[in-house]
């Protein structure tokens, strides 16, 4: 589904990613872990097409297409979805209106009939339960005045409505208490299927207790320095990132 080759990325003359190779197949969940500043959020944002970054080398193929050649909205309509680390507040745009327009923009692109108000509300009811989205969150402006947890739930709610092929969760667990974390994880797990892939970007292993990955990659200083199965996450939790960055086993006290 996704093939990243030798991806090198700069932001404002600072080299952030220094040659990333990553292959993700449909049905897989990959976790990208790493210390702060390792470039993991940059990777997520580059996949979504954030304009702040310049790709200086490498390529990204998504479903046989050149992803880097696609605008952010084109990527979204083709099934790429990033749950933002910091969801943006959109004053004056009603959340329900926004969600319906987003769902229909995608359906139109895929040649499917657009949902009318009643059909959309049916879809909302079904998905809202899972993420404990209440009527109040739908009637407010997008993310405006939402708590941190509400914003993250709203992101995964959008993901549930848009049913992306490739989802990228950018530190969705940051700032969530354990209950909110479980709700979010349930929402994500409900979307796991053989024809979808999910990339979970996280600093901590905690989320991976609930969204169990097939692969774990460790990013450090702009490179993937270690890859493994889900047990790698547990190892990181226990030992921290230091041993990977220095290449040495930590000394136990």
């Amino acid at each position: 589904m996704l093939d990243i080759k030798n991806l090198q990325v700069r932001a404002e003359d600072k080299e952030i990613l220094k040659g990333i190779d990553l292959h993700v197949d449909a049905g897989e969940v990959h976790a990208i872990m790493g210390p702060n500043g390792s470039g993991k959020s940059t990777l997520a944002r580059v996949l979504a097409g954030h304009p702040e970054y310049q790709v200086t080398a490498g390529e990204i193929t998504y479903e046989g297409q050149d992803l880097l050649d696609m605008d952010p909205d084109e990527r979204a309509r083709e099934g790429v979805f990033m749950a933002f680390q910091y969801p943006v507040e959109i004053a004056g745009v009603n959340n329900a209106y926004f969600l319906k327009a987003a769902v229909n923009a995608k359906r139109k692109h895929l040649g499917q009939p657009e949902l009318d108000a009643i059909e959309f509300m049916q879809l909302v009811r079904e998905k809202a339960k899972l993420l404990e989205i209440d009527q109040q969150m739908l009637s407010r402006a997008v993310n405006e005045g939402f708590s941190g947890g509400e914003k993250k739930r709203n992101e995964i709610f959008q993901m549930a409505l848009l049913e992306p092929k490739l989802s990228i969760l950018d530190e969705t667990d940051s700032g969530l208490d354990i209950d909110a974390l479980k709700i979010v994880a349930n929402g994500v797990n409900a979307l796991r299927s053989p024809d979808r892939a999910i990339i979970v970007v996280t600093h901590y292993q905690r989320l991976l207790n609930y969204i169990v990955p097939d692969y774990v990659h460790v990013l450090s200083a702009g490179r993937i320095v270690k890859s493994g199965g889900k047990e790698l996450a547990l190892e990181l939790e226990e030992k921290g990132y230091g041993w990977i960055e220095t290449g040495a086993e930590p000394v136990r006290a």
Partner: protein
């Protein structure tokens, strides 16, 4: 200076053609207005209040000071301008009452709604008591000029304790007769504990570049509630100068919603005096300009008594090489403890060539008060644009959504639904044109 004086000559000559007749007090008032204008002349950009707005284009034009009688207009001519589907409307064409287009019947007992010229005779006591009392022209050329030519306009009187359900619409329509100046005058008296809504609409036909110089005086009685809507959709080649003076008595609630969408040069001044404990005012505004147009808003909220809240939100959208000025003055008198004043001004610049000068101006003489103000000028929020695009909206869709949301904050406060829809349609149509120009550039 001599040049300025020369330019003033035709205006001084025109003053001699000012209306005569009517009661003595009115003749005196006109005379004083004329004398004041003659000594003030037009404001120049050396004056702080006109620093960014040159009125040379008005001063240098020759307008006939006596508005031409309009050719007979039909309901159909008027149709595009009747927004509020208000059952009650007063229409003035080129500053003169047009009875055949007006709908003045069927109002509750005691309500006076009609032409000012008629009211000067029929309601002479009420008119004489208030007329010219709020719109001080001592230092204001255009108000002096309007006063010199005061003859017709609108008169509204809502009796005490009356709740008027339907909005009253005042339509000031200008035709494309050879360029002329009209000096409409509006007097609104809202009785104690009354409740009403008034829509003032200024529209016109392009072609000859007419000049509207309007003055509105509003007295809101104790515990009265008055919602005032002003829609400025003058012809694109017209000049629009307007001053609205509001006096709010104890516990009165006054709201102003000002939409400035038309004219090549628009200046809107609003003066609100909160002159009784617990009086409250809300000033909302939205302006849009493009091309070479200029839109200038000066508001003054004068907190004269304690415990008066005021809320002000103005927003602007500027395209092309348009210029905007926003000056929001808040005065808190020594007496006005527990004042709570909030002011926000935001402007969205669609092009690099559009400019705005914005200035909050606080004059606070009391010590136990809360005053906040903020201004934000700029382009659309890049993060919001990216967020929307990442959800599948094209750049143009995302941009439209954000701009509509920006304007929506003000539009959504319009409580007269057909008016809100009409304003929205007009605004979106203008925006679509402006954005198409941005895309083509």
């Amino acid at each position: 200076m001599t040049q300025v004086a020369e330019k003033l000559q035709p205006w001084l000559a025109a003053l001699d053609e000012r209306p005569q007749g009517g009661p003595r007090w009115l003749q005196d008032l006109r005379d004083r207005g004329a004398a004041r204008f003659a000594s003030l002349g037009f404001p120049t950009t050396r004056e702080e209040d006109w620093r960014f707005t040159s009125v040379a284009a008005i001063a240098n034009s020759e307008f006939s000071a006596v508005p031409p009688a309009a050719a007979a207009m039909t309901e159909q001519d008027l149709a595009p301008f009747v927004y509020a589907d208000a059952p009650h409307r007063l229409v003035l064409v080129n500053g003169r009452f047009a009875p055949e287009l007006s709908r003045l019947n069927g109002l509750p007992k005691g309500v006076r709604f009609g032409s000012l010229a008629a009211a000067i005779h029929s309601e002479s006591d009420a008119v004489a008591r208030y007329f010219g009392q709020l719109a001080d022209f001592g230092a204001r050329s255009f108000t002096a000029l309007n006063t010199a030519f005061a003859e017709d306009g609108a008169f509204v009187l809502i009796p005490d304790r009356l709740v008027l359900e339907a909005p009253l619409q005042l339509i000031f329509l200008s035709t494309n007769a050879p360029s002329f100046m009209s000096s409409p005058r509006t007097l609104v008296l809202a009785g104690e504990r009354s409740q009403s809504r008034i829509v003032e609409t200024y529209v016109g036909v392009p072609g000859q570049g007419y000049f509207t110089n309007a003055v509105t005086e509003i007295a809101v009685g104790e515990h009265a509630i008055l919602d005032h809507y002003k829609v400025q959709e003058e012809a694109i080649d017209a000049f629009h100068i307007a001053a609205m003076h509001v006096h709010a008595a104890r516990s009165a609630t006054f709201s102003s919603h000002a939409f400035s969408l038309g004219s090549r040069l628009a200046r809107n001044d609003i003066f609100t005096v909160l002159d009784g404990e617990g009086a409250e005012c809300t000033l909302n505004g939205l302006y849009l300009a493009d091309g070479e147009r200029l839109v200038d808003t000066h508001t003054t909220i004068d907190h004269a008594k304690p415990h008066c809240p005021s809320h002000e939100v103005y927003k602007g959208i500027l395209g092309g090489r348009a210029r905007a000025i926003f000056n929001g003055k808040i005065i808190v008198r020594q007496d006005a403890q527990k004042t709570d004043a909030k002011q926000t001004n935001r402007a969205l610049l669609l092009t690099d060539d559009a400019t705005i000068n914005t200035k909050p101006q606080l004059e606070i003489f009391a010590d136990d008060v809360k005053c906040t103000h903020g201004a934000a000028i700029g382009q659309l929020d890049e993060d919001a644009l990216f967020y929307l695009r990442s959800r599948g909206f094209t750049f143009a869709e995302a941009r439209d959504m954000l701009i509509h949301a920006f304007a929506g904050e003000i539009l959504d406060r319009v409580q007269v639904e057909p008016l809100r829809r009409a304003l929205e349609a007009e605004l979106y149509a203008q925006l679509a044109k402006d954005l198409a120009e941005v895309d083509a550039a």
